[in-house]
């Protein structure tokens, strides 16, 4: 390093799930290099699944991530069912949709209030933010609890589902259970609406960069979270889930434990913002649409930092949609049914779902005894790593004249807006800026 060069290290980027570093090298005129280094200790789930019986896959993979556990469980059971040609009942699909809304409500509330909002209101955490904004923090906690309760009631436990198994449910909720969910959703709706009002009133930084947004698509579902048939992007690309590994091209890099991926040679962005832009306002519940109109929220959100706004939109929308399903289930009544049997055979299957932070892909190949021969898992945070790296590069080149502390702030906010979860992608973010 010459005397004009400087290295700045930010030792911790907190309030993200998992560990990662950002390394930046800048001169006075340009950003020379940005590297997203995911340094989460690798856990090797794909290799650990080898030789395991397929009936245990969903239990093992849910432990990939403590916040998207239900998403991994649902991706896993759909993959198993796809491999073994199992057609689950409509009731199973409805209950899974409901529990996935619960997962998203929980995750969005946690991320918006506990991880992101302190950035906007200038506090190190929600606990300290509570001294000045007690109502906001309590609201976040209440919303999070609605999601947790839906998960607990349908899944058997709020973290790490038990009753969601391949072929259906090991235990079905009772009428009382559904009534409880219904009343939680009714009570929480006002909180959800206030969240959207709050996040629509914030003034986030701005970053615009052309990028394909990608989300799962389903023939039978609008704005799907589960039951995906393929992947759709905002620039018109579509491919089936079976083509995923051919179309989503991954590369391992020597500085990161996460692999970097592209679709049509471009780094995609996935998550709430992507879902909103791919599926569009028209696929939101009508009361959500009215609310968007009254708050003058645009039908296309292109500012990266608006991922938080998109999460708030989804939060309200998923309250409405979850309520619709609950009422439907209450009117038809829960039918007692056994989960479909697992009949092992040599086969392979794929599944795509929307975790709160975006597309989650699983593939398993099974031998004739139903043991896993090979597995591949692609997580949303891994899918976003490349796009985030490019975003940071652009963000810095637009703000080269800012003092470093401001740069660091912008980057931290951006990273949190992406809602990354580094346990998934391969803990903790270090930012290193090297200045010439």
């Amino acid at each position: 390093m010459t005397s004009e060069e400087r290295t700045i290290k930010l030792e911790y980027i907190t309030r993200v799930e998992g560990h990662a570093n950002v390394y930046v090298r800048v001169s006075d005129k340009e950003v020379e290099e940005v590297r997203m280094q995911v340094i989460e200790t690798p856990r090797f789930f794909e290799a650990m699944l080898k030789g395991r019986k397929i009936k245990d896959a969903h239990t093992i993979v849910s432990r990939i991530c403590g916040i998207c556990d239900f998403s991994h469980t649902l991706a896993s059971v759909e993959t198993t069912e796809n491999a073994l040609g199992m057609q689950v009942s409509e009731q199973t699909k409805l209950l899974r949709k409901l529990v996935m809304y619960g997962q998203h409500i929980y995750s969005h509330a946690l991320h918006l209030y506990l991880l992101s909002l302190p950035d906007y209101l200038g506090f190190p955490d929600a606990i300290q933010m509570a001294s000045k904004y007690p109502e906001e923090v309590k609201r976040g906690m209440r919303l999070k609890k609605v999601g947790n309760e839906i998960s607990r009631i349908i899944g058997g436990r709020a973290t790490m589902s038990i009753s969601i198994i391949p072929g259906g449910f090991s235990r079905l909720p009772s009428k009382e259970d559904l009534e409880k969910i219904n009343s939680l959703l009714k009570e929480g709706l006002e909180d959800a609406k206030k969240t959207l009002e709050l996040f629509a009133s914030l003034e986030p930084p701005k970053l615009f960069r052309e990028t394909p947004f990608a989300a799962i698509d389903s023939k039978k579902e609008n704005y799907p979270l589960i039951l995906g048939d393929g992947i759709k992007t905002s620039d018109g690309t579509y491919f089936s889930k079976e083509e995923f590994e051919k179309k989503y091209v991954e590369q391992a890099r020597d500085y990161s434990y996460a692999k970097f991926g592209t679709i049509d040679s471009k780094a995609p962005m996935v998550g709430a913002l992507a879902r909103f832009n791919v599926h569009g306002e028209e696929n939101l519940a009508s009361p959500t649409k009215s609310l968007l109109k009254s708050l003058s929220i645009s039908s296309t959100l292109t500012n990266r930092y608006d991922n938080n706004l998109a999460q708030a939109i989804e939060l309200v929308d998923f309250f409405y949609k979850a309520q619709e399903i609950t009422e439907q289930l209450l009117s038809t009544g829960i039918k007692e049914e056994e989960p479909l049997p697992l009949l092992p055979k040599e086969a392979s299957g794929v599944g795509v779902v929307e975790a709160p932070r975006g597309i989650l892909y699983h593939r398993y190949s099974l031998d004739k005894e139903g043991r896993i021969q090979s597995a591949n898992i692609v997580t949303p945070t891994a899918m976003n790593v490349f796009s985030l790296e490019l975003d940071i590069k652009q963000l810095l080149s637009e703000n080269l004249n800012l003092p470093e502390s401001k740069m660091v702030e912008l980057i931290e906010k951006l990273i949190r807006a992406y809602d990354p979860c580094y346990s998934c992608s391969a803990h903790f973010l270090k930012l290193k800026i090297e200045r010439k």
Binding site: E11, Y12, T14, R15, E17, G18, T41, P42, F44, E46, A47, M48, K50, R52, K53, K55, D56, T59, I60, R63, I64, C65, G66, I67, D69, L110, L114, L115, P118, P124, D125, A126, I127, A130, P134, V137, K138, M141, R142, K144, K145, N148, G156, R157, A158, T159, M160, I162, S163, I165, S170, R171, A252, D254, Y257, K259, R371, S423, H427, F428
Partner: protein, 243 residues
């Protein structure tokens, strides 16, 4: 009165146990009146140095960096609590310990780097309290936190999961022909798995020294080769098998 400083650290895991702690919800704000969360990376930007009155550590140890970090935590903490199965018995991460012929980094990332056998915290440092479970049970966490704040070191009750089932009126899953690890597993979880119609797979770790030969034989035939290999007893038995 000065607030006691409490820290949460995570090593190799999914951080699910920290998310369970966050399920305290509004109660967390009550807790924060008594304690100062000096280090809780998942939820706060505060990153303070020790000493800590209590450190909760989740995750298994899988790298030399983590060994050093853990030793630093130990030397800066009055009480060290192993939070969750990864920290108490290695957890799901320990699955990889049994594939001695597989180069995991190469297999998944196509290159070599350090990753050694996933081990519980007690392999490297003195642990004062164990909170087992995958994930932990929130009531147990709250109980341990309260006791330690009063300078009392709670002891883990060694009773099988069967007691939880009896207490909660849960029908025994073995009656449905399922093979359940409840009799061999540390209880106190409330038996959520049997309550949901799924047999216990031993996530809280073994109740007894697994050299008990008869149980081992039954378990070998039905458990390991049956393929349910996750944490707890399966972990220990397969370790025996690989010897």
């Amino acid at each position: 009165m000065e607030k006691k400083r409490v820290a949460l650290f995570s090593l190799t895991d999914c951080q699910g146990c920290e998310f369970v702690v966050l399920q305290l919800g509004e109660k967390l704000l009550e807790v924060a009146k008594e304690v100062d969360f000096a280090n809780f990376r998942l939820a706060s930007s505060k990153k303070e140095d020790g000493p800590f009155f209590i450190s909760f550590v989740d995750g298994a140890v899988t790298s030399s960096e983590e060994v050093e970090h853990l030793k630093w935590i130990r030397s800066n903490s009055k009480y060290l609590v192993a939070l969750g199965s990864c920290a108490t018995i290695g957890g799901v991460n320990a699955l990889k310990n049994y594939f001695t012929n597989v180069n995991f980094p190469k297999e998944v990332y196509s290159r070599d780097f350090e990753s050694f056998e996933a081990k519980p915290l007690s392999e490297y440092v003195k642990v004062d309290v164990l909170i087992p479970g995958c994930p932990i049970n929130l009531e147990e966490f709250a109980f341990v936190l309260k006791a330690l704040l009063e300078d009392k070191v709670p002891k883990l009750k060694l009773a099988p999961v069967c007691e939880d089932c009896k207490k909660n009126g849960i029908e025994c899953v073995t009656k449905k022909g399922m093979f359940c690890l409840g009799p061999y597993t540390i209880g106190g979880c409330g038996a959520p798995c049997p309550a949901a119609g799924v047999p216990c797979f031993g996530c809280r770790g073994p109740l007894f020294n697994p050299n008990v030969a008869d149980a081992e034989k039954v378990l070998r035939d039905r458990f390991i080769h049956g393929g349910v290999l996750f944490t707890g007893l399966g972990w220990v038995l397969v370790k025996g098998e690989s010897k």
